[in-house]
Every structure is written in C-alpha cells, then in structure tokens.
C-alpha cells in the first residue's frame, strides 16, 4: 500500500508554518490523520490515482517557500489589454510590492487576521487534501469586499509556482463579500520551473445577502504539475455565484468545487472546459448543495480529449428536503479525439424534495460527421472544419466569461490549442 506515511509528511510541513491559527491547524491535522491519503478504494478518488502519482513524482515533501518574483515576470503574465487589478503571489505568499492596491477592497495577510474562520466553509473533514492544506498552508491571503461595493474591474490573483527547496505549495485564500457587493476574481497560475511540484490550493468564499461573485480559473501549469484545487462557497439569500474553470494542461489536476446554497432566491452556476492532450489527467468534482427552497443551479462541463489524456467528471447535485421549488440542471459533454483517450463521468443527482425540477444529461461521442461534411462541401479543409466545430463546442463555456480581456485571452489559448495539437 501507500508508502506515504501521513505523519512523516506532516512533520516536515508543520515544522515550517508560522504562528497563529494553532487551533485551525490542529483541526486540519487531525482531520487529515483521520482520512489519510486516498487509496484506489476511495470512491471520490476512484479514477484519479493521486497518491500513487505523488509517490512517484514528489521526493521532497517540504514547503516550497516564498521566492523573488520580478516585475517583468508579472508584466509578461498579465493578459494583453487587461485593465483590472493584480495581486501577485509566489508559492502562495503575497507580494505586496508587485500588487496593485484596490480601491474599496481590503487585502491583508491571513496572519494579520487571526480571527478569520478558516475551514468554516471548506470543511477539513470532507476531503483529505483540504485538511492537509488547513494543517499546513503557507502564507495565505484575506480579501474583504465591503457592503454595497461594486467592484467594476476584475481582480487577478496571479500565482507563480516554483519548486524551491521543497515541492509542496499550499496557498490559502479567504474571500468575503458584504451584502449587495459585486466582484469578479480571476485565478491564474504560472509555473516557473520544470521541477515537479504539488500545489494544494484552497479558496473559501463567503457571500452575503444579494452578493454577486464571479470566479474564473485558468489552469495551464505545465506538464509536471500535480494540483488539487479546492474552491468552496456559501451563497446567502438573493446571492449569485458563477464559476468558470478552464483546464488546459497539468500532469494531474483535481478540482473540487462546491457551492452551498443557504438562502432562497439564489443562483449557483458552474461552467467548465477541459481541453487535454498528451498524458494530462484532469478530474473535476463538483458539488451543488441546495439546502433551502427557491433556488436555481446550472452546470455545464465540456471536455475535448486527445492523445492519451483522461478526463474525469463527477457532478453531484443535492436537493435537501427543505429545498422545494429547486431548479437544478447539469450537463456534461465529451468529445474523444483519439483511441487512447479515456473519459470517466458520473453525473449524480440526490434528491430528497419532491417539488423540484432536476435534470442531467451526459454525452460522449465524436464530431458530427454531417456537420463536418457540410463544411467540407463548402470548401473548408477538413482540419480547419474540425477546429471550427471543436471551437464552437468549447465556445459555449467560454461565453460565460464576462470580462472581455480575459475571455479573449482564453479564446486565444483555446484556439491555439485547437489549431496545433488536435
């Protein structure tokens, strides 16, 4: 079985954490020790042998630590035409000198906000990696958007990753938004070295009444990255949360996205695109939990898989007994482009309320031969026609990005990929 002995790992990781959050970290440690690393028997990690991968690729289970990021590096990785604010992180450590100050938003180190309720939204008992992060996260940032603040421009969280001393990077983000606030976040990670590393990210978002939060995530981290990304949010009355997750590469990426709907007349949206080639393995686990009446959720995940890549999707929708009049929709579509690509999908509905409308759909197939023929008949070369159809397939997800410069950037990335690798 696993040679990853949980205590050993924790010793190295825990030795380097700073002071503060002693109770929080202790709770995380206990939760991790209870759960241990997932085995191939764990239902949640059935198709993603992450423990084995960690054993193979990661030799040095120590925190990577902060490092110097230059202004040029920041400049090179901000999207062309991007006009919003940028917060820069090096292995999860905030770099204030390179970051913009955002008017009307409080940004602080987590260590300065000792009373933050870390782990109250992304509970450590639910997932071992979430617990591991809680026990030994590095740095960490606190972002607070005050009541009624309308932050027009998006906030880019630019994460630079580099295996540096150790190979474990555990950033932690806490975001809270007051009643009636509106804000958009973009998560973008940049890999600065070829050494394999394990990024175990956790982001908690706390919404208020009628808050509108959008959260975009672009994963394009190079072939050696093993990543577990946990994002969890609570939506209150009249609130809305939209997540768009684009995965373009990574040796092994696991995304745990959970939305807890705690107030009525609220809406949760999850959109995702995974465009994989080579030996990439991307696993999206989503969890939409309707706990009160009158709420709505939409979920659309699409995947294009080439070479010997593997896409895993597990979408859960829970409709609790009190959540009458819920409308929940979920869809997962996959296109397999090669003989060796594999897709494992499990759209899961669990419903305890009767007056609901819930549906899910799931398809796996190829490009429509007739559509391809139609384009070819009109003088478009087969490869080009394929690219066009695939782009149209992916476009449905990209359309949900509201920030124009980021959308253009994603479109360019997707098109580049569709043009070159498929």
């Amino acid at each position: 079985m696993s040679t990853l002995i949980k205590q050993d790992i924790l010793v190295e990781l825990l030795a380097n954490v700073g002071t503060g959050f002693e109770q929080v970290r202790a709770a995380g440690k206990e939760a991790f020790q209870d759960q241990g690393f997932p085995t191939n028997k764990s239902e949640e990690y059935k198709f993603t042998a992450i423990t084995k991968k960690l054993e193979q690729s990661i030799q040095n289970f120590a925190p990577a630590g902060a490092f110097e990021v230059t202004a040029d590096q920041v400049k090179a990785n901000v999207f062309e035409g991007y006009a919003g604010d940028v917060l820069v992180f090096a292995n999860g450590h905030f770099q204030p000198s390179l970051s913009s100050t955002i008017e009307g938003v409080e940004v602080a180190l987590l260590s300065e906000k000792a009373d933050t309720a870390i782990g109250s939204i992304a509970k450590p008992g639910k997932d071992p990696f979430c617990a591991l992060n809680q026990s030994s996260f590095e740095g960490g940032i606190f972002i607070s958007v005050p009541k009624k603040a309308q932050i027009q421009m998006p906030i880019l969280l630019l994460n630079f990753f580099k295996a540096n001393g150790g190979q474990v990077i555990q950033p932690r983000v806490w975001i809270e938004a007051g009643d009636f606030a509106e804000v958009t976040f973009i998560n973008h990670s940049v890999n600065l070295s070829d050494t394999p590393y394990f990024a175990n990210k956790v982001m908690e978002l706390k919404g208020g009444l009628n808050t509108q939060i959008r959260c975009y995530n672009l994963q394009n981290e190079g072939k050696n990255a093993i990543e577990v990304s946990t994002t969890e949010t609570d939506i209150q009355k009249d609130g809305r949360f939209t997540s768009v997750n684009i995965s373009l590469s990574g040796e092994l990426v696991r995304n745990n996205l959970s939305i807890n709907i705690l107030g009525s007349n609220s809406e949760g949206n999850m959109y995702g695109l995974y465009l994989l080639n080579g030996k990439s393995h991307v696993d999206n686990h989503t969890n939409m939990d309707h706990t009160v009446a009158h709420s709505e959720s939409n979920e659309l995940y699409k995947g294009i898989l080439a070479d010997s890549s593997r896409g895993v999707f597990n979408g859960k929708i829970f409709v609790r007994q009190d959540a009458q009049k819920t409308n929940a929709f979920q869809q997962n579509n996959n296109i397999l482009l090669s003989e060796d690509a594999v897709v494992n999908t499990k759209p899961q509905l669990e419903i305890w309320a009767d007056d609901v409308k819930c549906s899910h759909g799931c398809t796996t197939g190829q490009l429509d031969e007739e559509a391809l023929f139609y384009l070819q008949a009109r003088g478009i070369a087969k490869d080009q026609a394929k690219g066009l159809l695939l782009y149209a397939f992916a476009g449905e997800v990209l359309d949900h990005i509201t920030d124009e410069s980021f959308r253009e950037y994603c479109i360019a990335q997707v098109q580049r990929r569709l043009g070159s690798n498929f």
Partner: protein
Amino acid sequence: MSKDNQILEELTSKEYEHGWSVNYEADEAPVGLTEETIRWISAKKEEPQWLLDWRLKAFKSWQAMSEPKWANVHYPKIDLQSLKYYSAPKLASKPKNLDEVDPELLDIYKRLGINLNEQKRLQGIAVDAVLDSVSVATTFKGTLSKLGIVFCSFSEAVKEHPELVKKYLGSVVPMTDNYYAALNSAVFSDGSFCYIPKGVRCPMELSTYFRINAANTGQFERTLIIAEDESYVSYLEGCTAPQRDENQLHAAVVEIYAGAHAEVKYSTVQNWFPGSKEGVGGIYNFVTKRGICAGDFSKISWTQVETGSAVTWKYPSCILKGDNSIGEFYSVAVTNHYQQADTGTKMIHIGKNTKSRIVSKGISAGKSQNSYRGQVQVMKRATNARNFSQCDSLLMGDRCGAHTFPYIDISNSTAKVEHEATTSKIGEDQLFYCNQRGIATEDAVALIVNGYAKEVLNQLPMEFAVEAQKLLALTLEGSVG
C-alpha cells in the same frame, strides 16, 4: 395540500396483499452457517462430489470477504449465523406431475394468483415454482423436452445434465464475484435451470415463481439459463413472501449465457414483502444477475418491475462480448413507506458494434429512498459501441428521496454514449389539464403514472404486464386513485 396529505395517508395505509403464510411441515437445515451446513445441504440434495467441492471453495472465499458498504441503503447488520439455510416442504416422495403435488402447496400458488393448472391450460406457460428453497412443481416439461429444451429445477439438472451445469455454473457470475454471490454459491439450495438447444425457438414463456414461506430462512436460489446459438427464450420470474416482523434474506444468483444470434428475454416482477408501513420486517433482496452475450449478434434483455422488498440491491448486467451484440435493461422500481432500493445495471461493451439501452423509471413515495446506480463501460476494442440511458424519477411526497449514480467510463473514441435523467413530481399543469377535461385528480394521477412507466411495462410479456400494472396500482393506491 390537504388533498396531498389525504393521498399520502391512503398510500401509506396500503397493506401487503401476499402477507399470509401456510403452515406445512418443513425439512430444515440447522440454524447457522458452517462448513457442516454446506455438507448437510449437499448431502440432503444428494449432490455429486464436484459440486460439494465447488460449494466449499465458494464458502472459503466468502469467509475472506466482507459485506459491501457502497450501496445507498441502510439496514441493521444481518446475522447470517441466525438463519436457516435450507427449508424444504416435506414430501413423501418426489412428485411426477402436478396431481401428486401436495394440494396445500398448490393452494399457496392459487392464492398468489398463479394457479399452475390454470396457467398451464390457459396461457401455455411453463412454470417452475420454488417454495422457500425447493422447486415444487414444473409444468409442461414433456412438451418442452420434445424440442430438446430442458426446463427443470436446478437440483434435477445437477442429476440429469451434470455436464451442462458443470460447464456453465459460475461462468458468468464467478463464485468470488461479490459477497452475496459467494454466499449463494456456497449455500444455494435450488432454483431453475433452462437449456435451449441450438436453433430452437422456445414456443412458450418459461416462468418461475419464488416464495419464501418459513420464518428465519434465507432463500438462495440459483438460476442458470443457457441459450445456444440461434435460439430464443423468454423467461419470467415472480416473487412473493409472507408478512413477518423480522427481516428475511434473499440472495439469488441468475446467470444467462447467450450464444451467437441467440436472444434471451428475462422479465421479473418482484413483490417480496416490503415490510410494514412502519418499516418493520420485509425482505432483504440482494441479488446478482448477469448475462453474457458470448456470441456475435446475440441479445439479452432484462425487464424488471420492482415493487417489493425492504431493501433491494440488484444490478442485472450484460457483458456484451460478441460483436454486434445487444444488451437492454428496462426497469420500474417503486418504493413506498420505508423501502430502500438501490438498483440499476451494468453494460460492459467489449465486442465491436455493441449496443445497449437503459430505461429506468423510479417512483418513490412515503419515506422511501430509491437509487439508480448504473455503469456503462466501453472497453478499448469496442469500436462503434452505442449506448443510450435514460433514468427518470418521480417523487410523491416530501419525505422520500431519489438518487442517481450513473458511471460512464469510455475508453474508445468511436463510442457514442448518451445519458439523461430527470427528477420531478407530477406537474400541477398536467393535473389541471386533465381536470379541465373532466378527469378526476386521482384518475389523472393514475393516468400519468401509467404513462410514465409505459415504456418499461410494454416490454413485459402480456400476462406479466397485466400483473405488473395491477401491482403498480396497488403499491401506489391512494396516490394514484
């Protein structure tokens, strides 16, 4: 709202119709499960040595296994040592025909609405009735044997066709397949055996009725259906049990082998005692059913109407090994009161151009939990595999649950797999539409539920469809009018 409550009230007050038991003398194995029990059963049934060895081997592997925990059902741990593993009606001698069968036994079946004689005359269905553990009567044997068809109890098959049993037993469901299959392999007492020779189209429906009568017994029957190349058979299975306060265990294994161009249609109407409306008693129905489309162009079709059992754990599956083979699964699962059902199917595409179709309709009422759990697996060499799955749930009342766990694992880029699921209650607009046209609410609900399940009920053979419709109406009476 008061109407809803009233409907629910009526629904939950519906009692189990088949809840009687008949007192007859039974020949029973001692309580408990040890190697001795198995030897006892084997000796009782005058089995050859190889079968005893097979049982003991299964028992050994079972001892190393632990009870599966993954299903979405909750029940107190079953004490397997407190069960009797064999219970047979005491017969002076083996009956040659129906006239020699104990009239009291026949009376049981009459009360079930399966009068063997009558069915024999009117519908031309060959029936093999299994009471507790032993097959009591098989009709129409002569007619079938003229065509070379073997349809008899399992123990008879062991004696008369040992070569067939030896060849196919455990070939589709290996003895180590899962906890309950292993248990069944060790202690199975009887069941049905059916063999259709090459090129023969079975002229009538073959039918088995299972009933658990004695208290504290487990029923472990084993069904083996072999359809040789180019043959056809339609097989029906029905189950009932008396009303008892304690839970009874039913752990059956069904194996189907279909050769090239063969077609097997397997229909089940399962109406084991579901427990009282307070959730006391009822049958634990832990069944392993699997068919293999071994030859090219073969077809296996499962149809099930599940209305009974306190806990159901059942996944009739198809292994589509032959090229161009077809697997089908049609299911209506109704749960009421405290019933729990975790049922679905597995379609494993191995051969080229294989097709499968899954239609699952769940109806939950009362405080029941109804889960669909299915897997569609397309292996690497299964070029042009095609699957369509649809699983719908209908909820009645706000204390019940409907769950869907579909696993879709695709390793071939030419596969076309579609899955869709919906969950809803009966729409107020639908009811209003019917009301407007002069149809009373209760009739309208009946109409809608029937229409909802029609796609599956249509797959049942005529005689069964009538029974199934009645059962559906009974189980949901009150809520459906």
